[in-house]
Protein backbone atom coordinates (compact mmCIF):
# COMPACT_ATOMS: atom_id res chain seq x y z
CA UNK A 1 0.00 0.00 0.00
CA UNK A 2 1.18 3.46 -0.78
CA UNK A 3 -0.14 6.87 -1.73
CA UNK A 4 -0.01 8.08 -5.31
CA UNK A 5 0.08 11.52 -6.92
CA UNK A 6 -2.51 11.61 -9.68
CA UNK A 7 -3.17 13.59 -12.81
CA UNK A 8 -4.44 16.83 -11.28
CA UNK A 9 -0.98 17.72 -9.96
CA UNK A 10 0.33 18.17 -13.49
CA UNK A 11 1.10 21.84 -14.27
CA UNK A 12 -0.05 22.88 -10.75
CA UNK A 13 2.58 21.45 -8.37
CA UNK A 14 1.47 23.25 -5.22
CA UNK A 15 3.89 21.32 -2.92
CA UNK A 16 1.75 21.72 0.23
CA UNK A 17 2.13 17.94 0.47
CA UNK A 18 5.88 18.28 0.89
CA UNK A 19 5.38 20.43 3.97
CA UNK A 20 3.35 17.81 5.82
CA UNK A 21 5.16 14.65 4.70
CA UNK A 22 6.97 13.16 7.72
CA UNK A 23 9.00 10.83 5.52
CA UNK A 24 10.17 13.28 2.85
CA UNK A 25 9.06 10.91 0.15
CA UNK A 26 8.15 13.43 -2.55
CA UNK A 27 10.22 13.74 -5.70
CA UNK A 28 10.02 16.66 -8.07
CA UNK A 29 9.86 16.91 -11.83
CA UNK A 30 9.39 20.05 -13.96
CA UNK A 31 5.59 20.11 -13.68
CA UNK A 32 4.59 17.19 -11.46
CA UNK A 33 5.43 15.57 -8.11
CA UNK A 34 5.55 11.87 -7.30
CA UNK A 35 5.62 9.77 -4.13
CA UNK A 36 8.25 7.10 -3.64
CA UNK A 37 6.13 4.01 -2.91
CA UNK A 38 8.75 2.39 -0.65
CA UNK A 39 9.36 5.52 1.38
CA UNK A 40 5.73 6.52 1.88
CA UNK A 41 4.55 5.58 5.38
CA UNK A 42 0.82 5.71 4.57
CA UNK A 43 0.18 8.54 7.01
CA UNK A 44 -2.54 10.14 4.89
CA UNK A 45 -1.51 13.72 5.69
CA UNK A 46 -0.78 14.75 2.09
CA UNK A 47 -4.27 13.83 0.89
CA UNK A 48 -5.81 16.56 3.04
CA UNK A 49 -2.98 19.00 2.39
CA UNK A 50 -3.23 18.95 -1.41
CA UNK A 51 -5.25 22.01 -2.49
CA UNK A 52 -6.26 20.35 -5.77
CA UNK A 53 -7.08 16.87 -4.38
CA UNK A 54 -4.52 15.19 -6.58
CA UNK A 55 -3.27 12.57 -4.08
CA UNK A 56 -4.94 9.22 -3.48
CA UNK A 57 -4.39 6.13 -1.46
CA UNK A 58 -3.52 3.45 -4.00
CA UNK A 59 -6.86 1.69 -3.47
CA UNK A 60 -8.82 4.89 -4.02
CA UNK A 61 -7.26 5.91 -7.33
CA UNK A 62 -9.85 6.57 -10.03
CA UNK A 63 -9.91 3.74 -12.55
CA UNK A 64 -8.55 5.84 -15.40
CA UNK A 65 -5.49 6.86 -13.35
CA UNK A 66 -4.25 3.44 -12.32
CA UNK A 67 -1.18 3.90 -14.49
CA UNK A 68 -0.06 6.65 -12.10
CA UNK A 69 0.96 3.92 -9.61
CA UNK A 70 3.75 2.79 -11.91
CA UNK A 71 4.46 6.34 -13.00
CA UNK A 72 5.08 7.46 -9.39
CA UNK A 73 7.35 4.49 -8.74
CA UNK A 74 9.32 5.03 -11.94
CA UNK A 75 9.85 8.79 -11.68
CA UNK A 76 10.66 8.69 -7.94
CA UNK A 77 13.79 6.77 -8.89
CA UNK A 78 14.82 9.42 -11.41
CA UNK A 79 13.77 12.81 -10.03
CA UNK A 80 15.40 14.64 -7.08
CA UNK A 81 13.92 14.56 -3.61
CA UNK A 82 11.98 17.68 -2.59
CA UNK A 83 12.06 18.49 1.13
CA UNK A 84 10.78 22.06 1.36
CA UNK A 85 7.64 23.64 0.06
CA UNK A 86 7.99 26.10 -2.78
CA UNK A 87 5.70 28.33 -4.82
CA UNK A 88 3.25 26.55 -7.13
CA UNK A 89 3.71 26.85 -10.88
CA UNK A 90 2.69 30.36 -11.99
CA UNK A 91 -0.55 29.42 -13.74
CA UNK A 92 -1.45 26.60 -11.32
CA UNK A 93 -4.96 27.91 -10.71
CA UNK A 94 -5.76 27.89 -14.42
CA UNK A 95 -4.78 24.24 -14.71
CA UNK A 96 -6.65 22.92 -11.67
CA UNK A 97 -9.28 20.46 -12.80
CA UNK A 98 -8.39 20.61 -16.49
CA UNK A 99 -8.98 17.15 -17.92
CA UNK A 100 -6.51 15.07 -19.89
CA UNK A 101 -3.43 16.83 -18.55
CA UNK A 102 -1.44 13.65 -18.61
CA UNK A 103 -0.10 14.30 -22.08
CA UNK A 104 1.48 17.48 -20.73
CA UNK A 105 3.59 15.64 -18.15
CA UNK A 106 7.23 16.68 -18.51
CA UNK A 107 9.50 13.79 -17.62
CA UNK A 108 12.68 15.89 -17.70
CA UNK A 109 14.65 16.70 -14.54
CA UNK A 110 13.21 19.46 -12.34
Amino acid sequence: MTYVVGENCIKCKHTDCVDVCPANCFYEGPNFLVIHPDECIDCDLCVEACPVSAIFEEDDLPEDQLNFIDLNAELAEVWPNLRNRKDPLPDADDWDGVSAKRDLLDRGAA
Binding site: M1, D19, V20, P22, A23, N24, C25, D38, E39, I41, D42, C43, D44, L45, E48, E57, D59, N84, R85, K86
Partner: protein
Amino acid sequence: MATEYTPSARAAEFLSKVVNGRYKRQIVNGLRKFIDNRVDEEMGTFYSKEEIANLISIRGTDRDIESRMPVKITRHYFDLAKNSLPIQTLVKASPKETFDLDGAEDPGKQMDYSPVEGLIHKYELGLIYVASTCSAHCRFCYREELIAGKDVERPDGTVAPKGLAQVGELVEYIQAHNDIVARNGGRHPKTGREKLREILMSGGDPMVLANLNLAEWWSGLADVGIEQIRIGTKELAFYPARFDQTFFDMVDEFHAAYPETKLRFMVHFNHPDEFLKKDDDGKYIDDPNGGLVWVDATKDAIRELGRREWITIDNQAPIIAGINDDSDALRIMQRELRRNRVENHYFFCGRDIIGHKAFNVPIEKVWNILNDSQKGLSGIEAHARLSITHYKGKTEVAAVANHPLPGVPGTENGFVVLKLLRGAADAPDRGKLCIVGRNPEAIWFSGYDDRVIYDEAGLFSHVSSGVTEPVAAVSTP
Protein backbone atom coordinates in the same frame (compact mmCIF):
# COMPACT_ATOMS: atom_id res chain seq x y z
CA MET B 1 7.32 28.44 4.14
CA ALA B 2 10.04 26.55 6.00
CA THR B 3 13.27 28.41 6.56
CA GLU B 4 16.22 26.72 4.96
CA TYR B 5 18.42 25.02 7.53
CA THR B 6 22.12 24.62 6.90
CA PRO B 7 23.73 21.90 8.99
CA SER B 8 27.13 22.50 10.54
CA ALA B 9 30.14 20.76 8.99
CA ARG B 10 30.08 18.22 11.80
CA ALA B 11 26.38 17.56 11.25
CA ALA B 12 26.79 17.39 7.48
CA GLU B 13 29.43 14.70 7.80
CA PHE B 14 27.18 12.64 10.06
CA LEU B 15 24.14 13.19 7.81
CA SER B 16 26.07 12.02 4.78
CA LYS B 17 26.28 8.57 6.39
CA VAL B 18 22.58 8.21 7.12
CA VAL B 19 20.44 5.85 5.07
CA ASN B 20 16.64 5.81 5.18
CA GLY B 21 14.96 2.48 5.83
CA ARG B 22 11.98 1.05 3.97
CA TYR B 23 8.99 0.02 6.02
CA LYS B 24 5.80 -1.92 5.53
CA ARG B 25 3.53 -0.61 8.22
CA GLN B 26 0.41 -1.79 6.35
CA ILE B 27 -1.63 1.00 7.85
CA VAL B 28 -5.39 1.16 7.53
CA ASN B 29 -6.47 4.81 7.52
CA GLY B 30 -10.04 5.85 8.24
CA LEU B 31 -13.25 4.04 9.08
CA ARG B 32 -14.19 4.16 5.41
CA LYS B 33 -12.06 1.09 4.73
CA PHE B 34 -13.95 -0.87 7.36
CA ILE B 35 -17.33 0.50 6.29
CA ASP B 36 -16.75 -0.42 2.63
CA ASN B 37 -15.18 -3.70 3.73
CA ARG B 38 -12.03 -2.95 1.78
CA VAL B 39 -9.71 -4.41 4.41
CA ASP B 40 -8.37 -7.92 4.17
CA GLU B 41 -10.56 -10.76 5.27
CA GLU B 42 -9.22 -11.14 8.78
CA MET B 43 -9.65 -7.44 9.53
CA GLY B 44 -13.17 -7.43 8.08
CA THR B 45 -14.73 -8.41 11.40
CA PHE B 46 -12.66 -6.04 13.56
CA TYR B 47 -15.73 -3.82 13.80
CA SER B 48 -19.06 -5.63 14.10
CA LYS B 49 -21.89 -4.66 11.74
CA GLU B 50 -23.63 -3.03 14.67
CA GLU B 51 -20.56 -1.02 15.67
CA ILE B 52 -20.15 0.20 12.11
CA ALA B 53 -23.83 1.16 11.89
CA ASN B 54 -23.57 3.15 15.13
CA LEU B 55 -20.48 4.97 13.93
CA ILE B 56 -22.08 5.77 10.57
CA SER B 57 -25.16 7.20 12.31
CA ILE B 58 -23.11 9.97 13.97
CA ARG B 59 -21.02 10.88 10.92
CA GLY B 60 -21.19 14.54 10.02
CA THR B 61 -22.67 15.50 13.40
CA ASP B 62 -20.84 17.17 16.27
CA ARG B 63 -20.39 13.67 17.65
CA ASP B 64 -18.46 12.44 14.59
CA ILE B 65 -15.60 10.44 16.08
CA GLU B 66 -13.38 10.75 13.01
CA SER B 67 -13.25 14.53 13.17
CA ARG B 68 -12.33 14.18 16.84
CA MET B 69 -9.47 11.79 16.09
CA PRO B 70 -8.72 10.08 12.76
CA VAL B 71 -8.94 6.28 12.85
CA LYS B 72 -5.65 4.53 12.14
CA ILE B 73 -4.09 1.13 12.82
CA THR B 74 -1.03 -0.83 11.69
CA ARG B 75 -1.16 -4.49 10.79
CA HIS B 76 1.16 -5.30 13.70
CA TYR B 77 -1.12 -3.61 16.19
CA PHE B 78 -4.18 -5.23 14.63
CA ASP B 79 -2.56 -8.63 15.15
CA LEU B 80 -2.09 -7.80 18.84
CA ALA B 81 -5.61 -6.39 19.12
CA LYS B 82 -7.25 -9.53 17.77
CA ASN B 83 -6.60 -11.27 21.08
CA SER B 84 -6.85 -8.35 23.45
CA LEU B 85 -9.88 -6.41 24.59
CA PRO B 86 -7.76 -3.67 26.20
CA ILE B 87 -5.95 -3.07 22.90
CA GLN B 88 -9.24 -3.01 21.02
CA THR B 89 -10.49 -0.37 23.44
CA LEU B 90 -7.31 1.61 22.81
CA VAL B 91 -7.48 1.63 19.04
CA LYS B 92 -11.09 1.03 17.97
CA ALA B 93 -13.34 4.03 17.43
CA SER B 94 -16.46 4.07 19.58
CA PRO B 95 -19.49 6.38 19.83
CA LYS B 96 -18.74 6.57 23.58
CA GLU B 97 -15.89 8.96 22.78
CA THR B 98 -18.20 11.81 21.93
CA PHE B 99 -21.08 10.94 24.22
CA ASP B 100 -20.08 13.60 26.75
CA LEU B 101 -18.17 16.54 25.31
CA ASP B 102 -17.66 18.24 28.65
CA GLY B 103 -14.14 19.36 29.55
CA ALA B 104 -11.57 22.06 28.86
CA GLU B 105 -9.68 22.55 25.62
CA ASP B 106 -6.21 22.97 27.05
CA PRO B 107 -6.13 22.51 30.84
CA GLY B 108 -2.31 22.56 30.93
CA LYS B 109 -2.45 26.00 29.20
CA GLN B 110 0.37 24.86 26.92
CA MET B 111 0.08 27.74 24.47
CA ASP B 112 1.10 30.17 27.23
CA TYR B 113 4.55 28.65 27.06
CA SER B 114 5.14 28.59 23.31
CA PRO B 115 7.73 31.19 22.23
CA VAL B 116 8.33 29.53 18.84
CA GLU B 117 5.90 27.53 16.71
CA GLY B 118 6.00 23.88 17.74
CA LEU B 119 7.96 24.47 20.98
CA ILE B 120 6.59 24.39 24.53
CA HIS B 121 9.23 25.86 26.83
CA LYS B 122 7.68 25.42 30.24
CA TYR B 123 10.31 23.58 32.24
CA GLU B 124 14.09 23.25 32.01
CA LEU B 125 13.10 20.77 29.32
CA GLY B 126 11.70 21.96 26.00
CA LEU B 127 8.94 20.01 24.25
CA ILE B 128 8.82 20.10 20.47
CA TYR B 129 6.23 18.80 18.05
CA VAL B 130 8.02 17.23 15.11
CA ALA B 131 5.30 15.10 13.52
CA SER B 132 1.54 15.38 13.44
CA THR B 133 0.75 11.70 13.10
CA CYS B 134 1.56 8.32 14.63
CA SER B 135 1.59 4.87 13.06
CA ALA B 136 -1.73 4.16 14.76
CA HIS B 137 -3.98 6.41 16.80
CA CYS B 138 -4.89 5.90 20.46
CA ARG B 139 -8.53 6.84 20.83
CA PHE B 140 -7.73 8.57 24.12
CA CYS B 141 -4.99 10.74 22.59
CA TYR B 142 -4.84 14.18 24.21
CA ARG B 143 -2.85 15.70 21.36
CA GLU B 144 -5.97 15.53 19.24
CA GLU B 145 -5.70 19.19 18.28
CA LEU B 146 -2.39 18.40 16.59
CA ILE B 147 -3.31 15.01 15.13
CA ALA B 148 -6.73 16.10 13.89
CA GLY B 149 -5.40 19.50 12.77
CA LYS B 150 -7.73 21.55 14.96
CA ASP B 151 -7.45 25.26 15.58
CA VAL B 152 -5.99 26.39 18.90
CA GLU B 153 -6.09 29.84 20.48
CA ARG B 154 -2.79 31.58 21.29
CA PRO B 155 -2.26 33.93 24.25
CA ASP B 156 -2.43 36.86 21.80
CA GLY B 157 -5.93 35.76 20.80
CA THR B 158 -5.05 34.51 17.31
CA VAL B 159 -6.39 31.15 16.24
CA ALA B 160 -4.62 28.68 13.95
CA PRO B 161 -3.84 24.98 13.79
CA LYS B 162 -0.89 23.98 15.96
CA GLY B 163 2.19 23.95 13.75
CA LEU B 164 5.27 21.76 13.86
CA ALA B 165 8.70 22.89 14.96
CA GLN B 166 11.23 23.57 12.22
CA VAL B 167 14.82 22.63 12.93
CA GLY B 168 16.33 25.94 11.71
CA GLU B 169 13.99 28.17 13.71
CA LEU B 170 14.25 25.99 16.80
CA VAL B 171 18.02 25.79 17.01
CA GLU B 172 18.17 29.58 16.58
CA TYR B 173 15.83 30.01 19.55
CA ILE B 174 17.82 27.59 21.74
CA GLN B 175 21.09 29.29 20.84
CA ALA B 176 19.68 32.74 21.62
CA HIS B 177 18.09 31.58 24.90
CA ASN B 178 21.22 29.84 26.07
CA ASP B 179 23.40 32.82 25.11
CA ILE B 180 21.25 35.13 27.25
CA VAL B 181 21.40 32.67 30.14
CA ALA B 182 25.19 32.39 29.86
CA ARG B 183 25.63 36.18 29.79
CA ASN B 184 23.41 36.49 32.85
CA GLY B 185 25.36 34.08 35.05
CA GLY B 186 23.31 30.93 34.47
CA ARG B 187 19.74 32.19 34.73
CA HIS B 188 17.50 33.92 32.25
CA PRO B 189 17.02 37.51 33.49
CA LYS B 190 13.25 37.46 32.89
CA THR B 191 12.08 33.90 33.46
CA GLY B 192 14.77 32.62 35.82
CA ARG B 193 15.12 29.52 33.64
CA GLU B 194 18.46 27.78 33.28
CA LYS B 195 19.94 26.88 29.92
CA LEU B 196 17.97 24.44 27.81
CA ARG B 197 19.77 21.18 28.25
CA GLU B 198 17.11 18.74 27.24
CA ILE B 199 14.57 18.56 24.42
CA LEU B 200 11.66 16.14 24.20
CA MET B 201 10.71 15.32 20.64
CA SER B 202 7.04 14.55 20.51
CA GLY B 203 4.09 14.94 18.22
CA GLY B 204 2.66 12.74 16.87
CA ASP B 205 5.41 10.21 17.01
CA PRO B 206 8.95 11.20 15.99
CA MET B 207 9.57 7.60 14.95
CA VAL B 208 7.31 8.05 11.91
CA LEU B 209 9.98 10.39 10.57
CA ALA B 210 12.59 9.06 8.18
CA ASN B 211 16.06 8.33 9.63
CA LEU B 212 17.42 11.38 7.84
CA ASN B 213 14.86 13.70 9.48
CA LEU B 214 15.64 12.30 12.90
CA ALA B 215 19.35 12.63 12.23
CA GLU B 216 18.92 16.26 11.19
CA TRP B 217 17.02 17.04 14.41
CA TRP B 218 19.51 15.24 16.63
CA SER B 219 22.60 16.82 15.12
CA GLY B 220 20.97 20.26 15.01
CA LEU B 221 20.02 20.03 18.69
CA ALA B 222 23.42 18.63 19.70
CA ASP B 223 25.19 21.44 17.83
CA VAL B 224 23.49 24.09 20.02
CA GLY B 225 24.39 22.35 23.27
CA ILE B 226 21.41 20.08 23.97
CA GLU B 227 22.82 17.31 26.16
CA GLN B 228 19.83 14.98 26.28
CA ILE B 229 17.35 14.32 23.52
CA ARG B 230 14.17 12.53 24.48
CA ILE B 231 12.16 10.70 21.86
CA GLY B 232 8.55 10.21 22.93
CA THR B 233 7.29 7.21 20.99
CA LYS B 234 4.66 4.51 20.91
CA GLU B 235 6.25 2.87 17.89
CA LEU B 236 7.51 -0.08 19.99
CA ALA B 237 3.85 -1.02 20.38
CA PHE B 238 2.51 0.08 16.98
CA TYR B 239 5.33 -0.95 14.66
CA PRO B 240 8.49 -2.21 16.38
CA ALA B 241 10.06 -3.14 13.03
CA ARG B 242 10.72 0.60 12.62
CA PHE B 243 13.72 -0.03 14.88
CA ASP B 244 15.62 -1.72 12.06
CA GLN B 245 19.29 -1.98 11.16
CA THR B 246 19.28 1.30 9.17
CA PHE B 247 17.95 3.03 12.29
CA PHE B 248 20.57 1.57 14.63
CA ASP B 249 23.31 2.33 12.08
CA MET B 250 22.15 5.94 12.19
CA VAL B 251 22.01 5.89 15.99
CA ASP B 252 25.59 4.58 16.14
CA GLU B 253 26.85 7.15 13.64
CA PHE B 254 25.19 9.83 15.76
CA HIS B 255 26.93 8.56 18.87
CA ALA B 256 30.26 8.53 17.04
CA ALA B 257 29.72 12.13 15.91
CA TYR B 258 28.20 13.43 19.17
CA PRO B 259 29.36 11.14 21.99
CA GLU B 260 28.23 13.53 24.74
CA THR B 261 24.63 13.84 23.58
CA LYS B 262 22.50 11.15 25.18
CA LEU B 263 19.27 9.72 23.84
CA ARG B 264 16.37 9.00 26.16
CA PHE B 265 13.58 6.96 24.65
CA MET B 266 10.32 7.75 26.40
CA VAL B 267 8.23 4.80 25.36
CA HIS B 268 4.53 4.30 25.81
CA PHE B 269 3.13 0.92 26.75
CA ASN B 270 -0.31 0.95 28.33
CA HIS B 271 -0.78 -2.76 28.75
CA PRO B 272 1.37 -5.92 28.68
CA ASP B 273 -0.75 -7.24 25.79
CA GLU B 274 1.18 -4.74 23.68
CA PHE B 275 4.44 -6.64 24.06
CA LEU B 276 3.79 -10.13 25.47
CA LYS B 277 2.88 -13.22 23.48
CA LYS B 278 -0.19 -15.23 24.46
CA ASP B 279 -1.00 -18.91 24.14
CA ASP B 280 -4.18 -20.33 22.62
CA ASP B 281 -6.01 -19.79 25.91
CA GLY B 282 -5.07 -16.11 25.94
CA LYS B 283 -2.52 -16.59 28.76
CA TYR B 284 0.96 -15.12 28.83
CA ILE B 285 3.68 -17.70 28.28
CA ASP B 286 6.35 -18.44 30.89
CA ASP B 287 9.86 -18.24 29.53
CA PRO B 288 11.72 -21.27 30.96
CA ASN B 289 14.73 -18.97 31.39
CA GLY B 290 12.76 -16.47 33.44
CA GLY B 291 10.04 -13.92 32.93
CA LEU B 292 7.43 -14.06 30.19
CA VAL B 293 7.75 -14.48 26.44
CA TRP B 294 7.74 -11.22 24.46
CA VAL B 295 6.63 -10.36 20.95
CA ASP B 296 9.84 -10.91 18.97
CA ALA B 297 10.09 -7.59 17.13
CA THR B 298 9.46 -5.59 20.32
CA LYS B 299 11.98 -7.62 22.30
CA ASP B 300 14.59 -7.19 19.55
CA ALA B 301 14.07 -3.42 19.41
CA ILE B 302 14.34 -3.03 23.19
CA ARG B 303 17.39 -5.25 23.38
CA GLU B 304 19.13 -3.16 20.71
CA LEU B 305 18.23 0.12 22.42
CA GLY B 306 19.14 -1.26 25.83
CA ARG B 307 22.58 -2.55 24.97
CA ARG B 308 23.75 0.96 24.06
CA GLU B 309 24.75 2.38 27.43
CA TRP B 310 24.23 5.98 26.33
CA ILE B 311 20.55 5.36 25.67
CA THR B 312 17.94 5.13 28.41
CA ILE B 313 14.42 3.74 28.03
CA ASP B 314 11.58 4.93 30.25
CA ASN B 315 7.93 4.00 30.04
CA GLN B 316 5.15 6.43 30.80
CA ALA B 317 1.47 5.93 30.20
CA PRO B 318 -1.90 7.23 31.26
CA ILE B 319 -4.32 5.00 33.14
CA ILE B 320 -7.38 4.74 30.91
CA ALA B 321 -10.79 3.19 31.56
CA GLY B 322 -11.20 -0.21 29.94
CA ILE B 323 -7.53 -0.36 28.90
CA ASN B 324 -5.27 -0.49 31.92
CA ASP B 325 -7.38 0.35 34.98
CA ASP B 326 -6.31 -3.12 36.08
CA SER B 327 -3.72 -3.60 38.83
CA ASP B 328 -2.81 -7.16 37.77
CA ALA B 329 -2.01 -6.06 34.22
CA LEU B 330 -0.04 -3.08 35.50
CA ARG B 331 1.94 -5.28 37.90
CA ILE B 332 2.95 -7.64 35.09
CA MET B 333 3.81 -4.71 32.86
CA GLN B 334 6.02 -2.96 35.40
CA ARG B 335 7.84 -6.19 36.26
CA GLU B 336 8.47 -7.23 32.66
CA LEU B 337 9.52 -3.78 31.51
CA ARG B 338 12.02 -3.39 34.34
CA ARG B 339 13.46 -6.84 33.67
CA ASN B 340 14.16 -5.72 30.15
CA ARG B 341 15.92 -2.45 30.84
CA VAL B 342 12.84 -0.22 30.64
CA GLU B 343 12.43 2.06 33.67
CA ASN B 344 8.87 2.68 34.89
CA HIS B 345 8.78 6.46 34.95
CA TYR B 346 5.28 7.90 35.26
CA PHE B 347 1.70 6.85 35.13
CA PHE B 348 -0.71 9.67 34.43
CA CYS B 349 -4.24 10.52 35.32
CA GLY B 350 -6.27 11.19 32.21
CA ARG B 351 -6.81 14.83 31.33
CA ASP B 352 -10.12 16.53 31.73
CA ILE B 353 -10.40 17.62 28.14
CA ILE B 354 -13.17 17.58 25.58
CA GLY B 355 -14.11 14.12 24.43
CA HIS B 356 -12.32 12.33 27.26
CA LYS B 357 -15.09 11.39 29.63
CA ALA B 358 -15.25 7.86 28.26
CA PHE B 359 -11.58 7.33 29.08
CA ASN B 360 -11.23 9.04 32.44
CA VAL B 361 -10.79 7.12 35.68
CA PRO B 362 -11.23 9.15 38.90
CA ILE B 363 -7.93 10.25 40.42
CA GLU B 364 -8.36 8.43 43.74
CA LYS B 365 -9.31 5.22 41.96
CA VAL B 366 -6.25 5.48 39.73
CA TRP B 367 -4.03 5.93 42.78
CA ASN B 368 -5.50 2.80 44.37
CA ILE B 369 -5.12 0.76 41.18
CA LEU B 370 -1.50 1.77 40.78
CA ASN B 371 -0.79 1.27 44.47
CA ASP B 372 -2.34 -2.23 44.34
CA SER B 373 -0.28 -3.01 41.23
CA GLN B 374 2.89 -2.16 43.10
CA LYS B 375 2.14 -4.57 45.93
CA GLY B 376 4.33 -7.54 45.16
CA LEU B 377 6.82 -5.55 43.12
CA SER B 378 10.34 -5.03 44.32
CA GLY B 379 11.48 -1.48 45.06
CA ILE B 380 13.20 -0.94 41.76
CA GLU B 381 10.25 -2.33 39.84
CA ALA B 382 7.93 0.09 41.57
CA HIS B 383 9.65 3.37 40.72
CA ALA B 384 6.69 4.78 38.79
CA ARG B 385 4.78 7.63 40.36
CA LEU B 386 1.27 8.75 39.60
CA SER B 387 1.29 12.17 38.05
CA ILE B 388 -1.29 14.71 37.04
CA THR B 389 -0.31 17.76 35.06
CA HIS B 390 -1.18 21.02 36.77
CA TYR B 391 -0.83 24.40 35.11
CA LYS B 392 1.96 25.09 37.62
CA GLY B 393 3.83 21.89 36.88
CA LYS B 394 3.86 18.14 37.11
CA THR B 395 2.19 17.02 40.31
CA GLU B 396 2.37 13.68 42.07
CA VAL B 397 -0.69 12.10 43.61
CA ALA B 398 1.36 10.95 46.58
CA ALA B 399 -1.26 9.35 48.83
CA VAL B 400 -4.95 8.77 49.31
CA ALA B 401 -5.88 8.34 52.97
CA ASN B 402 -9.18 6.78 53.96
CA HIS B 403 -9.48 8.13 57.50
CA PRO B 404 -9.99 11.60 58.96
CA LEU B 405 -7.03 13.57 60.21
CA PRO B 406 -8.01 14.12 63.85
CA GLY B 407 -9.11 17.66 64.51
CA VAL B 408 -8.82 18.81 60.89
CA PRO B 409 -12.11 19.84 59.32
CA GLY B 410 -12.63 18.72 55.73
CA THR B 411 -10.91 15.37 56.22
CA GLU B 412 -13.99 13.51 57.52
CA ASN B 413 -13.95 11.18 54.48
CA GLY B 414 -10.17 10.98 54.29
CA PHE B 415 -7.80 13.15 52.30
CA VAL B 416 -5.45 13.24 49.30
CA VAL B 417 -1.84 14.39 49.38
CA LEU B 418 -0.53 16.08 46.24
CA LYS B 419 3.11 17.05 45.75
CA LEU B 420 4.45 19.42 43.12
CA LEU B 421 7.26 17.55 41.34
CA ARG B 422 8.27 20.26 38.94
CA GLY B 423 7.42 23.87 38.49
CA ALA B 424 7.43 26.02 35.41
CA ALA B 425 10.41 28.30 34.85
CA ASP B 426 12.89 27.91 37.73
CA ALA B 427 10.64 25.59 39.73
CA PRO B 428 10.26 27.72 42.88
CA ASP B 429 7.61 25.46 44.41
CA ARG B 430 9.13 22.05 43.73
CA GLY B 431 8.57 19.60 46.55
CA LYS B 432 5.72 21.54 48.12
CA LEU B 433 2.56 19.79 49.24
CA CYS B 434 -1.13 20.27 48.90
CA ILE B 435 -3.75 18.39 50.92
CA VAL B 436 -7.38 18.17 49.87
CA GLY B 437 -10.42 16.39 51.28
CA ARG B 438 -11.39 13.27 49.34
CA ASN B 439 -13.70 13.35 46.35
CA PRO B 440 -13.95 9.87 44.84
CA GLU B 441 -15.55 11.33 41.71
CA ALA B 442 -12.79 13.86 40.94
CA ILE B 443 -11.03 13.42 37.62
CA TRP B 444 -9.15 16.72 37.70
CA PHE B 445 -7.96 19.37 40.17
CA SER B 446 -11.26 21.18 39.73
CA GLY B 447 -12.94 18.30 41.59
CA TYR B 448 -11.16 19.53 44.73
CA ASP B 449 -11.73 23.27 44.38
CA ASP B 450 -14.22 23.24 47.28
CA ARG B 451 -12.19 21.07 49.66
CA VAL B 452 -8.66 22.42 49.86
CA ILE B 453 -7.17 21.92 53.32
CA TYR B 454 -3.53 22.87 52.94
CA ASP B 455 -1.95 24.37 49.86
CA GLU B 456 1.73 25.19 50.26
CA ALA B 457 2.17 24.28 46.58
CA GLY B 458 -0.36 26.88 45.46
CA LEU B 459 -2.21 24.43 43.22
CA PHE B 460 -5.51 26.05 44.11
CA SER B 461 -4.36 29.63 44.50
CA HIS B 462 -6.90 30.63 41.84
CA VAL B 463 -9.74 29.42 44.06
CA SER B 464 -10.97 31.84 46.68
CA SER B 465 -12.34 29.21 49.00
CA GLY B 466 -11.25 30.84 52.21
CA VAL B 467 -10.54 27.42 53.75
CA THR B 468 -6.83 27.44 53.30
CA GLU B 469 -4.41 29.50 55.28
CA PRO B 470 -1.02 29.17 53.61
CA VAL B 471 -2.15 30.11 50.10
CA ALA B 472 -1.79 33.84 50.63
CA ALA B 473 1.66 33.37 52.12
CA VAL B 474 3.00 31.48 49.11
CA SER B 475 5.06 33.68 46.87
CA THR B 476 4.47 33.37 43.17
CA PRO B 477 7.37 33.72 40.73
